[in-house]
C-alpha cells in the first residue's frame, strides 16, 4: 500500500522541518494528538508549480466548534480534502482520534461526516433517495436509514421536497441535502467546507442550531468559511490559514485578542488595498 508519497520523491521546496519519516515527528512539532478529533501534521500538497498547502499542522480538540478561515486560494479546501481522505497529501499525516486516516481509511472515514465544496451530487436521485444512498453506502440497515433520513429532511426543512429530484433543487437546498447526507451515520466529527454558501438566512440559522446541538452532544464540527462575523459568533475555536500554512490557531478569544476577528485576519493575511483608480465607476 503506497499510501504516502515520501518527501524524497515529491520534495517540498524549503521543507526543512519535514523529515521523510512519518512516525517520528520533527523536533519543533509535537506528535499527532491521539485525543484530538483531527490532528494534522506536516501536510504538503503541490499542484504542478503551485504549492497549495505547505507543512500544515493543526489540532482540532474533541467537542470543539472549529472555524477555518482564510482568503481565497489559501488552501482551505485542499487541507480539508486531505484531512477527510478525498485528496492524498504529498507528505504528512492525518489522525482522526488517533487513527491514521491514510493508513486505515475505512475505519477513520466511518467516524467522519464530510461536506465537500465544489463537487456535484448524484442529482438524478430525489432528496430522500440521496440521503438514503449515503446511509446505505455507510452500511447502515434500512430501518435506521429510513428513520434518520426522515428526521434529517424535516430538520433541514426539506420534507416537502423529499421526492423532488436534487437536480431541481436550488443552491441552498442542495447544500442542505448534502449536509443531511453527511450526517446520516451520526459521525463523531463533521468536516464542512463552506456549509453556508448560498444558504438563506433562515436555513442558515436552522443549520447553526443543528450544529450547535451536535457539539453540545459531544460532536466536533470543523467549518471553513470566509465570513468572519459568522465564525466569530458560531465557533469557539478558529484557525487562520494563509498561503497554505496556519497563521494563528486557538480559541476565538486567543486568536483575536482585543480586536475583532476580521481585523486580526486582515492584519495576519494582509493585502488590504484602498480602492483607488476606480473613479470612472462613479455614475454621478
Amino acid at each position: 500500500m503506497t499510501h504516502q508519497t515520501g518527501p524524497g520523491t515529491e520534495a517540498p521546496v524549503g521543507g526543512a522541518a519535514v523529515t521523510p519519516s512519518n512516525t517520528v515527528a520533527p523536533v519543533p512539532t509535537p506528535p499527532p494528538d491521539p485525543g484530538a478529533a483531527l490532528s494534522l501534521r506536516g501536510l504538503w500538497k503541490r499542484f504542478g508549480q503551485k504549492i497549495a498547502v505547505r507543512a500544515l499542522d493543526l489540532d482540532v480538540p474533541v467537542g470543539s466548534f472549529y472555524g477555518l478561515v482564510g482568503p481565497n486560494g489559501a488552501g482551505k479546501t485542499t487541507t480539508l480534502s486531505m484531512a477527510t481522505g478525498l485528496l492524498r497529501p504529498d507528505a504528512g499525516t492525518v489522525h482522526v482520534r488517533g487513527t491514521d486516516l491514510w493508513a486505515h481509511p475505512v475505519e477513520a472515514k466511518a467516524t467522519l461526516g464530510i461536506l465537500p465544496d465544489g463537487v456535484r451530487l448524484f442529482d438524478r436521485l430525489t432528496g430522500l433517495q440521496l440521503v438514503t444512498y449515503a446511509g446505505l453506502l455507510r452500511g447502515m440497515d434500512r430501518d435506521t436509514v429510513a428513520d434518520r433520513a426522515r428526521s434529517l429532511l424535516a430538520a433541514m426543512d426539506l420534507a416537502a421536497d423529499a421526492n423532488t429530484y436534487v437536480v431541481d433543487y436550488s443552491a441552498g437546498m442542495t447544500k442542505k441535502i448534502a449536509l443531511a447526507s453527511a450526517m446520516i451515520h451520526a459521525p463523531r466529527a463533521l468536516v464542512l467546507d463552506e456549509p453556508f454558501e448560498a444558504v438563506d438566512p433562515v436555513s442558515a440559522a436552522n443549520i447553526r442550531d443543528i450544529l450547535a446541538d451536535y457539539v453540545t452532544g459531544g460532536g466536533t464540527v470543523i467549518v471553513s468559511s470566509h465570513v468572519m462575523d459568522l465564525v466569530q459568533r458560531m465557533c469557539d475555536h478558529v484557525a487562520i490559514v494563509g498561503a497554505g500554512q496556519v497563521l494563528a490557531a486557538g480559541t476565538v478569544d486567543q486568536v483575536r485578542g482585543d480586536q475583532t476577528l476580521e481585523d486580526r485576519f486582515v492584519d495576519l493575511v494582509g493585502g488590504r488595498t484602498r480602492a483607488e483608480g476606480l473613479e470612472w465607476l462613479r455614475t454621478s
Partner: protein, 539 residues
Amino acid sequence: MVAHFLKLKLTLLGNTLRRSVWQTIGLCVALLYALFVVVGLVFTAIVGGGMDLLLTGQVITLAGAITVLCWWVIPVFVFGVDQTLDPQRFTTFAIPRRTLVAGLALSGVISVPGLATTLAAGGTAFAWWREPWLIPVALLGAVLGIALCVVGSRAVTTVLAPLLESRRYREVVAVAAIVPLVLIGPAIGWASQEIGAVSHETNGGSVTADGSLLAAVLARFGELAAWTPFGAPWSLPVAVHDGAWGVALARFLVAVGTLALLWLIWSRSLARALVTPPAGGGKGSKSKGLGWFGRFPATPVGAVAARCTTYWIRDPRYAAGISIIFLMPVILWLPTRSSGNAELLLLAAPVVSWVLAFSVSNDIGYDYTAFALHVATGTSGRADRWGRALPVLTFGSGVVVIVALLTLALAGRWDLTVPLLGVCLGLLGLTLGVSSAVSATLVYPVAKPGESPLKSPQGAALATMLSQFLAMAVVMLLALPLLGVGVWALVSGSVLAGWLTLAVGLAEGSLLLVAGIRVGARSFDRRAPELLQEVQSFP
C-alpha cells in the same frame, strides 16, 4: 467583433494544449492524419481533372454532398458538437445576435474537421485546372459548401438541443435513428434500379471499357445529388462548364437559399436558447419514495446497484447504450430482407450484450465529481464494482436473452439457440469484467451530468479513443476462445459444439467477470482518491 471569436477559440485551443502534452500529441496526430487524407483527395481530384473533367466534377459533387450530410447528421448521433464556444457563455455580454452567430459560424471552421473540409474543398477546386476560368466558380461553390457544413451542423444541433437534453432523449434518438435506417431498404432498391438502368444505357450505347459502368453510375448519382441542398454548391462548375447557365443559377439559388434558411433557423433557435437557460431534465417531476433503493438489498452493493439502475433509466447519457438494444436488430434486419441471408440477424444479440457491458467502462467518468460521495463514505472497491456491474448483469442478461430469442425466431434458426445464448452470456460476462477493471483504472472526460449528450468535452476525443480502443482490444483477445467455439458450432451445426459453446460461455463469462471485478476492486481501494482527483481535473 467576429475576429474576437476567432481569437478566443484559438486561445482556448492553445490553453488546452498547454495543459496537457497528450492533447497536443493528439491534436498533432489528428492534424497529420487529416492533412494526409486531404492531400490524397486533392491529388486524386487534380489527376482526375486531367483525365476526365466532367466525371471528376460529378464525383466531387457526390463526395461534397456526402460531406455536408455527415456534418449535419454525425454530431446528433455520435460525437456531439465541440462546445468550446458555448453560446450560453455569451449571454451576459450583450453581443448582437447577428455578430454572435457570425462569430460562432466562423469559429466553427477552426477545428480539425473544419480545417480539413476547408482545405479539401479549396484544393479540389483546382481539379478544374484544364479550364482555369472555372476555378473561381468552383471556389465560390466550395465556400458555400463549407458554410452549409458549419451552419447546417450548428442549426441541426441547436434546434435539437432542447429536445435532446430532456430525458426523452432516449426515445427520440431511437426513433430518429430508425427513420433513415428504415429508408435504407427502399434506397437500396431504388439505387439498384438506377444502376440497372445505367448499365442498360451504357451497354446500349456500346461503351464497353472497364469501369465505365462505375463511372456512369457515379455520374448519375452526382447529377441527382447536384439538385439537393447538399450537392448543389459543389456542382456549380459542372453546370457552368456545360454552359447551362440557368441550371447553374438554379443550383446556386438552392445552395444560397438553404444557407439562408439554416442561418435563420440557427439564429432563431439560438435566440431562444439564450433566454431559456438549460434546465435539468424532467423539470419539476417527482418520484415517489425510495424507487430502486427500496427494491435492492439494503447493503452498500445493493445501494450502488440501485443508484446505477436509476441512472440507467434517468440519465440521457446512458441512452446510447439503451438505444442500441432497439437499433441493432433493426439495422441487421433490413439487409437480411433484401439478401435473404437471415443468419446475419443473429449478430444482434452478441452486439447488444457487448455494447451494454462496455458502456460501463467509464462509469466513474460519468459520475463526475459526484463520485466524491463514494470516496467520502469509504465505500469499498468490492461494493462499488459489484454494485455497478449487477444492474448490467441482471437486466442486461434478460434483455440479451430476449433479443437472442427474437432474432432466432425471425431467422428461423431455433437449432442455434444454445450456442447463441452461450456466446451472448459469455460476452456479457467477460466484457463486464473488463469494463469493471478498466473503469477503476482509466477515466476520461465525457459530457457532464445534466449537460446535453451532444456536447463532447474539448480535446477528449483522443483520450477517449485510446482508452476505449485498449479496452476493446482486451475484450476481443479474451473473447477469442468463446467466439472460436461459437463459430465452430454455427458452421458445423453440431449439437455437441452448441452445448460446448454454452459451457465455455458461462465458464469464461463468470470467471472473467469475477476476476475483472477483483482487479477493479483492488485498483479502486488503492486509487479512489486519485480517481476523484482525475475526475475533478476534467475541463
